[in-house]
């Protein structure tokens, strides 16, 4: 954590860091690695980056292993097809060499490395060094690494990618982050989510891909080599976040930055919202109903206790116990005779 003189300054610094990456500022991060899984796909994050890039006339190239359809403003390279690694690099170069500033997105680094046998170094040299553009790669963490048959001692692909990346963004579902936090506060084991968790046959959690937004665990590697880690919350964008698109452009520019630190999110900080979800777990388990209904609560509120009466104007009616006979009461004469 950066030594900041006060909280506001620290927050401003942290927001500045992520904002530079999301807005693709020059030299902010030549190679951003995005790690996602089925619990939180990276598509909201990527869309946000693409919209911001397109609004500033950046040439967006998507090397796609996972989708056959694309937006007309995006240069779509269908990498799933019959491309060899060399052809793929050539077509990437063709698509970025004419423009000044480009953004190249690989939507599955797993396929790029394992299937097309492209060396990440070569791709990085091409995009970031030769054309001074930004490279963003997505790696699905729930894909299993394919063992290298030739060199069993080669490091796993993901480790190499993490080593090379200048920024690593890990996507997490907001609902899962809240659940983990709630468990931690109660010293309970943290819940696990995802494939093969829970019952057989579950592929995706119901709380996965929270529509409220996406939690990003970011690690920035500064030029000095010093890493900084922060956790952010990127809410789903609204139309009012952007200016109207000027003619000839597809998207308007961003009005103001809306990514915040996770600790600034009200839903994460206050205990009320998450308490509602876990309140049921706090009650002791019993076959008796220990709670009160609304009617019972109202009746209880209505009872006037003796000492309230004693505080009235002239001191009430002394120390006598006031009791009104109910109709079910049976008057006991003998009791008064004592």
């Amino acid at each position: 954590m950066a030594p900041a003189s006060n909280m506001v300054q620290y927050q401003r610094h942290a927001i500045q860091l992520i904002s530079r990456v999301l807005n693709l500022r020059t030299n902010a991060s030549p190679f951003t690695l995005i790690l996602d899984d089925l619990n939180q796909r990276c598509s909201p994050l990527l869309s946000e980056i693409i919209i911001r890039a397109l609004s500033r006339k950046t040439n967006v190239v998507v090397v796609s292993f996972e989708s056959a359809r694309s937006h007309p403003s995006i240069h779509h390279i269908p990498a799933y097809g019959e491309y060899t690694g060399g052809q793929l690099l050539t077509s990437i170069e063709d698509s970025i060499k004419t423009t000044k500033e480009s953004l190249v997105i690989i939507d599955s680094l797993h396929d790029l490395v394992h299937e097309k046998n492209i060396d990440m170094g070569a791709l990085f040299n091409l995009v970031a060094m030769k054309y001074a553009s930004t490279l963003i790669g997505v790696y699905h963490q729930d894909m299993l690494p394919i063992p290298n048959p030739i060199n069993a001692y080669a490091p796993p692909t993901l480790d190499v990618l993490k080593f090379m990346a200048t920024t690593i963004l890990t996507c997490k579902s907001f609902a899962h982050v809240l659940a983990i936090k709630a468990a931690r506060e109660r010293s309970l084991p943290e819940p696990a989510h995802g494939l093969l968790q829970g019952a057989e046959g579950i592929v995706e959690c119901l709380e996965a891909n929270d529509p409220r937004g996406i939690v990003l665990e970011a690690e920035f590697r500064r030029k000095s080599g010093r890493p900084e880690t922060e956790t952010y919350f990127l809410r789903s964008s609204l139309e009012s976040d952007y200016n109207a698109a000027i003619p000839g452009m597809t998207f308007g520019t961003l009005k103001h930055e809306f990514v915040v630190l996770l600790s600034q999110v009200p839903g994460y900080n206050n205990k009320v919202s998450e308490g509602a979800a876990s309140a049921a777990e706090d009650d002791p388990e019993s076959t008796f109903n220990l709670s009160l209904t609304e009617k019972q609560k109202a009746a209880r509120e209505g009872v006037v206790l003796p000492y309230f009466d004693a505080q009235k104007g002239e001191g009430g009616e002394g120390g006598r116990i006031l009791y009104d006979m109910g109709e079910e009461d049976d008057f006991d004469e003998e009791e008064d005779e004592i």
């Binding site: 598509s43 694309s70 729930d142 093969l196 995706e204 959690c205 891909n209 929270d210």
Partner: protein, 362 residues
């Protein structure tokens, strides 16, 4: 009963196809078959007209309201099964659709591994084979069509004892599947787990559909392509997804519904990982990443119940950049599209879908 009403109202929004072209993933486990769900999809796709007034949920239908063609590729069941299941379950006549050129079936079960040299020995699957001109090529795989004497009639498939009018002869056809005019049955069959052959066959079938009804787009239903991973160790998950995507890239294919197995033994990871586990899991995960909607059926977590067949879980996601817009990600894919329900498949093929605790008997 109009066919559209055979689809339970709770299920309807999840069975109707999204507006944008997309990939849908369906997973099932050994104890909970998803065949009933596939037939619901078929029923919805083929019956859009009658179901168009079936409520506001129909907003996501194909633009011209004409429904879509269906190309069903199945490695686990034969045509006869789907025909009966569709008729029983949703009241859709696949046979009629096939005659009208709206339905094409690709059979991956009956003759996937047949020895092509001596087909006479395999009397069980003796099927009439079209007398196409013999072309030898790398993809030397026989293609099958109806016998000349049975044109327009029922397909000579199904019951093993079905008498065949011609002695079966295996003709090797080339990479181009038969295009002769006598091939109007709309039934194709796969003769090899080879992907190139699969692609050729599906492409031919698609061409057949498009030529018959060019206005409509096609729903491609692919039932259990993971069989290929298990039967052909040389295949990787990427080769299958590449094939699927290159099919999806065709302009006449609107949606793809892919059915995979999600049983733990297929996905569970031993150390060292077994090749099939890695392949199956990567295929499932990758397809899930590619899919707009993931529908999983599984058995009841708490054990067997008389009035519940299983649990149906639907999760909807906004993926890809085709519908990129500056706002509202997650608005339409919100809470309403992520839910879990129980279902009960009755003996007569009808299905009840209900919320947890709502009871299946009522």
């Amino acid at each position: 009963m109009p066919p559209s009403s055979r689809i339970p109202p709770l299920l309807q929004p999840h069975v109707c196809l999204p507006r944008d072209d997309s990939i849908l993933l369906l997973t099932s486990t050994l104890g909970a078959s998803a065949n009933w769900l596939i037939t619901r999809f078929l029923g919805d796709a083929l019956n859009l007209k009658s179901g168009a007034d079936g409520g506001s949920e129909g907003a996501g239908r194909i633009e011209d309201g004409e429904g879509c063609n269906v190309l069903l590729v199945s490695w686990m069941r034969e045509y006869e099964f789907w025909k009966q299941d569709c008729r029983k379950g949703v009241g859709v006549d696949l046979e009629r659709g096939r005659r009208e050129g709206r339905v094409v079936f690709v059979d991956g079960l009956s003759s996937l591994f047949l020895e092509e040299e001596n087909p006479e020995n395999n009397a069980r699957t003796a099927v009439p084979v079209e007398n196409a001109p013999a072309v030898r090529s790398v993809q030397s795989l026989p293609a099958r069509g109806p016998a000349p004497g049975r044109m327009g009639g029922l397909p000579a498939r199904g019951p093993p004892a079905a008498p065949t009018t011609t002695s079966p002869t295996t003709i090797r056809s080339g990479t181009t599947a038969p295009t002769s005019t006598s091939h109007n049955a709309g039934c194709y069959s796969l003769k090899s787990p080879n992907l190139a052959h699969l692609k050729t066959t599906i492409t031919t079938a698609l061409t057949h559909l498009t030529s018959a009804s060019p206005a409509r787009k096609t729903l491609l239903v692919i039932d259990n392509p993971d069989i290929l991973l298990a039967t052909n160790p040389a295949l990787t998950h990427t080769s299958i997804t590449s094939l699927l995507l290159s099919l999806h890239a065709r302009p006449d294919v609107a949606h793809m519904l892919i059915h995979l197995q999600a049983d733990t033994p297929l996905l569970g990871i031993h150390t060292p990982p077994q090749p099939l586990e890695v392949a199956q899991r990567n295929l499932l995960v990758k397809l899930a990443h590619m899919s707009r909607r993931v529908i999983g059926v599984r058995v009841l977590d708490t054990g067997v119940a008389r009035d519940v067949s299983g649990v149906l879980r639907v999760t909807e996601n906004d993926i890809g950049f085709a519908g990129l817009k500056a706002h509202g990600r997650g608005e339409d894919g919100g809470e309403g599209k992520r839910r879990e329900m129980l279902y009960k498949v009755n003996g007569d093929g009808s299905v009840k879908v209900f919320e947890r605790g709502a009871g299946g008997e009522g």
